[in-house]
């Protein structure tokens, strides 16, 4: 009755700090028994953080006041409260199967090389960007003969990088065209500079259909505006559970 009277007199519940954080507390209470236990708290806290530091009255449950204290003391620019532990943790909840000891290394063009680095796709993309950029600069000076076509650039990039024999041949053409029209050409890509580097092995035969560099404008666009669906035509660039 008093609550009703207060409601009528004051126009309803006010904004309070406890009311502000109550929905978070309710979300943490995953078994919906009205209390937030250590297990429920630990499930969403950075690993290594102590429940005891938060449960200040040692009741075994987390109250709204305790959660408010935690939030008030936790600087979002420094995610180490309530104890100075590193935020970045080793190990992963969704970790996939580990490679057994002594397993042979992944094939050269496999997407799992390194920490999820798709070296082959990366090299193709970088090569295509460099070649297209240089071609555009040369053509900006004068649309002349001797400038490699888009198809030649594509084929060179598909060979697996900027330092393959195919790419070098295209670079040589671009260099000559740039010199002919006085266009800027990066010193690091000039023939004499590249000659000092070993020629990378072309991985064109290993290229999967739909790899990066094939139609750079290609996108999986959903009519509903949602995130793009996985493209079965694209190489697997890492799966859930892959250790990266």
């Amino acid at each position: 009755m008093m609550g009703l009277l207060w409601f009528l007199a004051c126009g309803g519940p006010r904004f309070t700090e406890v009311a502000a954080i109550a929905p978070t507390l309710a979300r943490l209470d995953t078994d919906k028994n009205g209390t937030v236990t250590e297990a429920e708290y630990v499930a969403v806290s950075f690993k290594g953080f102590s429940f005891a530091a938060v449960d200040t009255d040692s009741s075994g449950d987390l109250s709204a006041a305790e959660l408010l204290t935690l939030v008030d003391r936790s600087n979002p620019a420094d995610l180490t409260y309530p104890r100075p532990a590193p935020v970045v943790m080793r190990g992963q909840a969704r970790q996939g199967p580990q490679k057994p000891h002594g397993a042979s290394p992944a094939p050269r063009s496999a997407p799992s090389s390194g920490r999820g680095v798709h070296r082959s796709g990366e090299a193709r993309m970088a090569a295509l960007m460099i070649l297209e950029s240089l071609r555009a600069e040369v053509l900006a000076e004068v649309p002349g003969h001797g400038v490699p076509s888009h198809e030649e650039l594509q084929a060179a990039a598909d060979s697996g990088g900027i330092n393959t024999a195919e790419s070098r041949a295209v670079l040589l053409k671009l260099e000559a065209a740039a010199d002919a029209v006085g266009a800027d050409f990066p010193a690091s890509l000039r023939a004499e500079k590249l000659a000092a580097l070993p020629v990378a092995e072309s991985d064109a035969p290993q290229r999967a259909p739909g790899a990066i560099g094939e139609g750079s404008g290609r996108r999986d666009r959903r009519a509903d505006g949602g995130p793009p669906r996985s493209d079965p035509g694209r190489p697997d660039r890492g799966r859930p559970g892959t250790l990266r």
């Binding site: 008093m2 690993k47 935020v87 190990g91 680095v117 960007m129 690091s188 990266r244």
Partner: protein, 490 residues
Amino acid sequence: MRHRLSFWIFFVGMVGGSLGCGPTAPERSGPPNILLVSLDTFRADRVGALGNPNGLTPNLDRFAAEAVTFTNAYSQSIVTGTSHASMFTSRYPTEVEGGARAPSIATSMYTLPEVLGAYGYQTAARVAGGDLNPAVASQRGFDTYESSVDFGSLWHTLPLALDWLDGADPEKPFFLFLHGYDAHPTYLKPTPYGLLFTGHTSLTESQQQTVGATGLVMDGLRHPNFHRLEFLSRSMLRPRTAEGRVALADPVANAARPLEVISQADQELIRDTYDGAVAYADLQFGLLLARLDARGRLDDTVVVVMGDHGEALGEDGLFHRCCALDDAVTHVPLLMRLPRGEGGGKRVDGMVQLIDIMPTLLEVAGATPPLGMAGVSLAPALRGEPFPGRRVAVSQANRMLSARDASGRLTYIGVQAPPNLLADIVAAARLPGPAFVATEGTDSSDQAALRQEMVRWVRTLSNPAVEAEVTATPPALLEKMRAQGYWDAQ
């Protein structure tokens, strides 16, 4: 019966008076106080009151019950500094853009705090640095303008704001602007919000990097050299600087900074941590309301909360904000609560823009609006009068220009600022394919109508930004911006 009713009125009045209904505001007649809260990088589709079913924003939803909620509000820019400069002048970005990240407000323009100050308001801004760092942002019209750590949170700025409020003159109205980057990258927030929606109890170093550098992710790949690239169009990139060209072209340097695959699971993790950041921002907003209420200042204050822009979370292969002007990055929350929540609980579906905030607040304050504002007052909607909204909302950023109407959106890519804007629109419209034109939910007749609207809009623009002095961004701040994934910070 009449006696019984009188009894209840008397009894409730007595009990209410004796129990107390919380602190009451200092008695003051005249224009209301105004609190404008900017939640940086806040997508409209995350707000429960705007239809999100996941319970991310209980405090905003509670607030919406006493506020007018504009369900179709659009930001004019996806760059924080420009969006705020645009909002504070009620001008389109073209008219306030100076450098890439340092807007310029011409001396011929008036800012919202400037006008309110002329009407006797005390004005203060408490901002979280970054694009609103006083080194690059306009402070014109604010009596005091304080910034916390760069790219900080409401956690940093709220105490600053309350300190100022506690010392403000109770006899004069106040205009307080409060800002936080809570939903801005990096998304990870303190326990329990950081992992609340992820299903993880820890993150690997790689996951941490992924979540912390979403501005470098495009089409499932993290591009270490992203900030050195220039987007001529959605599908055409090139190095933007001589330094970038060398870095990209050098096979040795490039091999040391390879592209990295961001798996679908990690892209989902980005979205989940963003949701945690949204929930954290919502909590901070709830704490603001509670602390304002505890001071007895809520019910004599007009409270406006908005997002300065949204955030791409994988739409069309993009994250962060760089190369698209779609709803993901421009559809923002906008809610306005009048003192005592009068007329609250309403939804207004007409299309509105952030540049409409200034004329609205000036009308609420009883101030005469300056000439040249592009926004329209939303006060009729607050009063419950019919409000159809505008036909088209316009957004600009990063050489893109976009017009949105109820049916969909038309975006031109690669266009310049005036005086070439009109010619660029015509040129872009003639170019084939998605490289220069992006559409959402429109057919060709809609697109033609939107294009006409865009051309009409361009003809209304002035370009007073050229009169303004462009501020150079301090190198240290530039570094922080690049660390946040702003590839165009220069």
